[in-house]
């Protein structure tokens, strides 16, 4: 009997590989036509600027392990348990999968920036998200909607994070460092442009992050303005007029940007609520899956035999996601052998 894993993003793939290596058979279920999840939207990774495609290739190679059975374009639609506790999962193609343990690695989705209407995403042409900027990096092309190289670019932190107005009270953790990384990448492509980050707090929590932030200021001439965007409007040239307060100066500020990038935060994955209700799990206050203990049970849920890893339980960067997946593999191995 196997371990069932829902989601073949970085967390699901890493956990599958580690479990397979320790002798378990794994059923890996992915709703999309390919593995990788949100990693597929990224160009380079912080802090070392590794190509996201390289990491994905490694994950893909790992899950070629003979003990791993990958089910692409598949979604679980029903869940039940047999008398001995064996987990049964019905997929949308009618397949029935059984396992001794289930690992939820359904990940996250990025915040839908349309919901911050005052920022003008979907209304003004030159407002894009950090995900769209990554795609622009993949294509090596940064232009405004009118076909010009942007002269002044603003990166807006905390879009969909730390904001009561959209019921997202938590910090998504990695938007700050993403902004720093993207600002540096922008600088490399546009040596003459003015690049500004509008932040509230710089949360440089990971190894190498603070150093990257400092380098962004010292070496790449990125400007950091401490103030949260209140609203944007558009002028006749399709440029954006933004209003923030430079809180360190104590003055309201109006500025024109050619391109505005919204650093979108992380939300529970699409289908998260249905999954929680299907598996009878608990929802954490932030909407993600509640773990059984914030220190000793970070991979455990309130259901025996059902585990969680990666961004299913809270926003995480890739480093922590992969670490968490290995931790989940150990937790499951222990469970299976006890």
């Amino acid at each position: 009997m196997s371990v069932i894993i829902i989601g073949a993003g970085p967390a699901g793939c890493e956990a599958a590989y580690r479990l397979a290596r320790s002798g378990e058979s794994v059923e890996l279920i992915e709703k999309e036509a390919e593995i990788g999840g949100n990693l597929n939207n990224w160009y380079q990774l912080f802090p070392d600027r590794k190509q996201a495609a390289d990491l994905k290739a490694k994950l893909r190679k790992n899950i070629e392990h003979p003990q791993i059975h990958l089910h692409l374009k598949s979604k679980p639609v029903a869940f039940s348990r047999q008398g001995d506790g064996t987990i049964q999962l019905t997929l949308d193609d009618g397949a029935l999968i059984t396992g001794k343990a289930l690992l939820v690695a359904s990940g996250f989705r990025t915040f839908d920036a349309h919901r911050k209407e005052e920022y003008g995403y979907g209304i003004y042409e030159n407002v894009i998200t950090s995900v769209e900027l990554e795609n622009a990096f993949i294509n090596h092309q940064i232009n405004t909607s009118t076909g010009h190289a942007p002269k002044r670019i603003g990166l807006i932190h905390c879009v969909g994070s730390r904001d009561e107005k959209i019921c997202r009270l938590y910090c998504s953790k990695l938007c700050c460092v993403t902004a720093v990384k993207q600002a540096i990448e922008l600088r490399e492509m546009l040596p003459e442009a003015e690049i500004l980050c509008f932040y509230m707090d710089m949360r440089m929590f990971g190894p190498g992050y603070e150093e990257m932030y400092r380098e962004a200021q010292e070496k790449y001439n990125i400007k950091f303005v401490r103030g949260r965007l209140s609203e944007a409007s558009e002028d006749r040239e399709k440029r954006l007029i933004i209003k923030v307060e430079d809180t360190l100066v104590g003055k309201p500020l109006k500025m024109t940007l050619d391109l505005m990038v919204l650093m979108v935060g992380m939300e529970p994955a699409e289908g998260n609520d249905q999954l929680i209700s299907m598996l009878n799990l608990q929802t954490a206050p932030n909407g993600f899956i509640q773990v059984s203990d914030p220190h000793s049970g970070t991979n455990c849920t309130h259901q025996k035999g059902i585990f969680v890893t990666g961004c299913s339980s809270s926003p995480m960067n890739l480093t922590d996601t992969l670490t968490d997946a290995r931790s989940a593999a150990v937790t499951i191995s222990e469970y299976l052998n006890s």
Partner: protein, 234 residues
């Protein structure tokens, strides 16, 4: 009672300040901050720090009178605060203590009380054309001057019922309604509140050696021209 204790009893304060993270969204959206030496974020921060000396200085300053109470800040704050509501509580505290007479913008409370406060009780309107005298309102310009001089004819032609009993725009508010209005002011403490503004203001007038009328005109017309200027201690 300390300023902070009196604020904590005010429903506007209770509803308006949870905890501020100084993000500046309120200042960025604030129309008053665009023109005045005014920063709603600093208001929230000052109150949050609960330093009595700073609070007293704030209540005696022009600062709390710059806000237009448009409440744009409420629509934006990611922590659910309302600096405009904090201002309402600060203004009330300043009025209760009489500290509003310490600043030019604060002293305008007297003009407001004498104009709007008196009008509502006398006419049932905060503003009626009769009392918008052109010499007191140069900003209204020549057109208003002409309308004012010909107001009976003008309002008749616009089918208003100006100063007459019965139905229609600008009609005379009947005595029963006026009495009811005055009673509401009595029962809710509105009259007592306005009396307080009057008392503190006349005390200030006397302190400055001005008769009430001159003091009124001063509160109405004075502008030291520094309200938009940056203060060096910012």
């Amino acid at each position: 009672m300390s300023v902070i204790d009196s604020l904590k009893k005010d429903i506007h304060y209770i509803e308006s300040l949870n905890s501020c993270m100084n993000c500046g969204v309120c200042t960025a959206i604030c129309p008053a901050a665009e023109f005045y030496n005014y920063d709603p974020r600093i208001i929230a921060d000052t109150v949050q720090r609960q330093d009595e000396e700073s609070l007293e200085a704030l209540l005696k300053s022009d600062t709390i009178w710059y806000c237009g109470e448009c409440m744009s800040c409420k629509t934006r704050c990611p922590r659910g605060n309302t600096p405009g509501g904090i201002i309402m509580a600060l203004r009330r505290a300043s009025q209760e203590q009489g500290w509003f007479t310490e600043s030019e913008k604060g002293r305008q409370q007297f003009a407001l009380k004498r104009v709007l406060g008196t009008n509502i009780l006398n006419y049932g309107y905060c503003i009626t054309p009769d009392i918008v005298k052109p010499e007191m309102h140069p900003e209204q310009g020549l057109v208003w001057e002409w309308i004012y001089e010909h107001r009976d004819d003008v309002y008749e032609r616009t089918h208003a019922n100006y100063r007459h009993s019965g139905a229609g725009t600008l009609r005379k508010v009947d005595d029963d309604s006026l009495n009811e209005l005055r009673q509401i002011f009595e029962v809710t403490g509105g009259s007592e509140f306005m009396e307080k503004i009057e008392t503190y203001s006349l005390r200030k007038a006397e302190e400055n050696g001005l008769d009430p009328e001159s003091y009124f005109l001063q509160t109405y017309m004075a502008n030291n021209g520094t309200h938009g200027e940056e203060k060096s201690n910012r």
